[in-house]
């Protein structure tokens, strides 16, 4: 099936999310859609999948113009989509999820589950998926959930499969497996639209590359292009992909975590007997695939929810079991995973957000009263220092771009003397420029002799920032390795291999995405 988008335009108010997009997907090809967060990739795919209507332009399938009023129409036309956040009902079985919306019945509306089971087994066998039709989805690992999503599309006879950032939740090895599946699919004539911002993956799998920036198609590229060529096309200017972190001389142990165990509110063990140290002037990156206990680990350090036991000592003082306020007062700075919900109050101004944890103390308060003049002068100072691009200090935080929101959070956390900085996914969803800025500030704080704990799911980020890397898998520490450990080894560790095994395996079976051909020379593979 040949798919063409002709002049698709989509506006949200004054923002043009897609501006006259033209794109052709040939049968059996992997067409990569490359662009930064906010470039308009997902908007375009939502238009293609019938989730939102375009303001102008047309979709053409096999030279026939079509129009979709909902996902049902898109599916009927042979378009399937695997969303970045899976569209699976967690409490349903695999079979129930697969049949939803395309149910086979035995008359009178009674479900024919057996027919769906058989179909799942058939597809499972064909592609080597190993999926049990009766397993409950919420108990499955994310990699398997993704296969369920692919099965869902295949059951509906998808000829064009859209994969929206499919590798964000996968280990490098699972990513390799996914690419194997993609090759099998294209060999059977299915075309794939592969949305990503990860350059290595594009080079490993793409037949053709379309690059988007700020709602426009800015160019086509060949898979042979170097990573830095692709990056400059994506960002619009030459970029250096790695911040030079320099070296540091770690000092005495400041944070000592011993036997930390956390159980979540569903009684699941999420952090299992974790012990580590962070020294003054050192960055320890906690790496691992999303959902392996990293978030719960940092929340336990801060005293946010979850039932925890063990010991967290900051410069000799026990923090575990203390309220969050005490932990912050003890000198812990915290950059939460989701800045929109946990880092900022969207309906507060920039100035107010900059004193969220200091508002009740001198100089920002006198008794029960706020001192607005001090809050404003503090804001003016921070906005300058951190280059926060806001209309004014009275702008609502929710209206800022992701990068500027993160700068507000960082500015607030770094504006008091810290004994420890904890940052979870500090650059998620940021543009390349902001990533660079955030990385520099984190390194500056380290050079200030503050111990820094970073949680990151991006191995590149771990490699760029870390003095040491702690890898977590299913709530446990797999191992702590030096910051310059090879990417392949780290990848295997995120799948649960102990460091020695990982070194051995990596030497024997290097992954495709782990070793891109070096073309540019300025991108850094340690």
């Amino acid at each position: 099936m040949k798919l063409e988008l002709r002049g698709i335009t989509k506006r949200f108010g004054t923002l043009v999310a897609n501006d006259d997009i033209r794109l052709t997907v040939e049968p059996g090809e992997v067409h990569c859609l490359l662009g930064e967060n906010g470039a308009g990739k997902s908007t375009l795919m939502n238009v293609l999948y019938g989730l939102s209507a375009a303001d102008a332009g047309e979709i053409v399938v096999d030279d026939e113009p079509v129009s979709f009023s909902g996902p049902a129409d898109a599916m009927a036309a042979g378009i399937g989509m695997v969303h970045q956040h899976f569209m699976l009902v967690p409490v349903f079985t695999v079979a129930e999820n697969v049949m939803l919306g395309a149910e086979q019945t035995r008359g009178a509306g009674l479900l024919d589950v057996e027919a769906t089971r058989a179909r799942i087994r058939e597809i499972s066998e064909q592609y080597g998926f190993d999926v049990d039709p009766d397993a409950v989805v919420e108990h499955l690992p994310v990699g398997v959930q993704q296969r369920v999503e692919i099965i869902k599309a295949l059951v509906r006879d998808a000829h064009v499969l859209i994969l929206d950032e499919p590798t964000a939740v996968l280990t490098p090895q699972e990513t390799d497996e996914l690419m194997g599946i993609m090759r099998q699919l294209t060999a059977n004539g299915t075309s794939i639209v592969f949305i990503t911002h990860k350059l290595r993956e594009v080079k490993a799998i793409a037949d053709r590359i379309t690059v988007m920036r700020l709602g426009r198609v800015v160019g086509q590229a060949q898979p042979e292009s170097t990573e830095s060529e692709l990056a400059s096309l994506m960002v619009g200017r030459p970029v250096s992909l790695v911040v030079d972190a320099g070296t540091s001389e770690p000092g005495e142990v400041v944070l000592a975590v011993r036997g930390l165990t956390v159980v979540d509110d569903r009684d699941q063990l999420v952090v299992d007997d974790v012990s580590f140290d962070v020294r003054a002037g050192e960055v320890l990156v906690v790496a691992g695939v999303q959902g392996n206990g990293q978030t719960e680990l940092t929340e336990a350090l801060l005293g946010l929810g979850g039932r925890a036991s063990g010991s967290v000592r900051l410069a000799g003082t026990e923090l575990l079991g203390r309220p969050v306020r005490d932990v912050l007062r003890a000198g812990v700075g915290f950059v939460p995973e989701d800045r929109r919900t946990d880092g900022l109050v969207g309906q507060f101004t920039v100035a107010e957000n900059l004193v969220l944890d200091l508002y009740d103390r001198s100089p920002f308060a006198r008794g029960p009263m706020l001192r607005h003049s001090r809050i404003r002068s503090n804001a003016a100072e921070r906005v300058g220092e951190f280059d926060i691009r806001a209309g004014s200090i009275d702008t609502l935080a929710s209206t800022l771009s992701g990068g500027n929101q993160q700068k507000v959070v960082l500015a607030r956390e770094l504006s008091r003397p810290l004994k420890l900085l904890v940052a979870t996914q500090p650059t998620r969803g940021l543009d390349v420029g902001s990533i660079e800025f955030v990385h520099r500030r984190i390194i500056a704080e380290r050079d200030n002799r503050t111990p820094v704990l970073i949680v990151s799911t991006e191995l590149d980020e771990a490699g760029a920032l870390a003095d040491r890397i702690l890898v977590m898998y299913r709530g446990s520490v797999v191992g702590i390795v030096p910051g310059d450990t090879e990417r392949d080894v780290l990848g295997l560790m995120t799948a649960g291999y102990a460091p020695e095994q990982a070194f051995e395996q990596a030497a024997r079976h290097p992954t495709r995405t782990g070793h891109p051909e070096h073309g540019g020379g300025d991108e850094g593979e340690p």
Binding site: A72, V91, A102, A108, L111, Q173, L269, R474
Partner: protein, 427 residues
Amino acid sequence: MSTGDTGNEVGSWAERALRRRWRAPVMFTVLGLGALVLFGLLAPGGERSTFGISTAGDIVEIDPVGVPSRQAAILLALLCLAVAGYALLLTARAEPVPLWLSVLFGSAFVLSFLTWAVAGETISLTGALQGSLALSVPLIFGALCGMLGERTGVINIAIEGQLLAGAFLSGVVASLLGNLWVGLIAAPVAGLLVAYLLAVFSIRYLVNQIIVGVVLNVLVLGLTNFLYGRLLSPQAQTWNSPGRFPRWKLPVLGDIPVVGPVLFDQTVIVYCMYVAVLVVHVALFHTRWGLRVRAVGEHPEAADTAGIAVNVVRFRNVLIGGAVAGFGGAYFTLGAIGVFSREMTAGAGFIALAAMILGRWKPMGAVFAALLFGFANNLQSVLGIIGSPIPSEFMLMAPYVLTIFAVAGLVGRIRPPAANGQPYIKS
């Protein structure tokens, strides 16, 4: 693919310590001790409690069972404490307390209480169960209504109003036309109208579901009170004399001792209830319709991307639910009393919500929860008649205390549909 599984099955000491939940076993112990002291040790000895089993006219007559009150109450309280001890042991081992244990505890506790309360008297078991079912019927209809809405993610607080509207309209229509059957058809229409308002405001105009529900309850209450004062009360002969459906005793089934008179000597409304429970159960869990309904309530985005019109499903289910509750409302007028009276639903709609939660959003579960509430409510009136040692005010509280325990999740973890109460706005 992943070989380095580091999680061990048994779990570390720290993990087990964190998993323990002491609420249920501690509650069991306290209640068990209370039963032992109050119903056993402090009770006077020498009296007998007598329970009648069969009613006159059954094919098999069973003699009433009499037991020495104090001794029986003490034995049952000790059983309670044994269950509590086992629950403590399980919790210490970080194992969950199973549901059957809670049920066993509840039964032993209630029986211990009963032997104490009827000391020196006789109560009829069949009569108690008949009374329980009678009080549960509107609860079951209401719980089905709530379930139909909440399974799609719409909270229906207006069940009370829908029951009352059904009771009112069925009574009025049956009186005016002199035909009970037409009244029975009018009842779901009344519930449907109330549900339509709920659906329009909460689904189309995204007004907070709880607020719309509360407002609708007040609206129906005010409207029926007004019409009752102006029409139904002064001209009762024309407006408020619908009469009642006769009981139909089913052949064979109706002659089984205890079960027969309780379940199979009932009005057409109760038989409809049996059918409704079965139909909702099969429809929810075994049909395409039910799969889509549940998907909409758990993950509306997933349903939407599978081509299901989320808000259409929600709208339709709220309407169906309203019709079910309205039909159940007819039970008050045409099934039980024979006339409409002011505020006659008396909070049944809210207890129905509790029954739905305690029954974990499942029709069969809701039936058992509703029967439990009906039993507690009925017990209060039975004990009032025989003159039990406890003040009737406390007995009146019992069903509501039970509701609070139930809703607070004393009986295991309760997991509502994930999208419950959240409006779906398409981006």
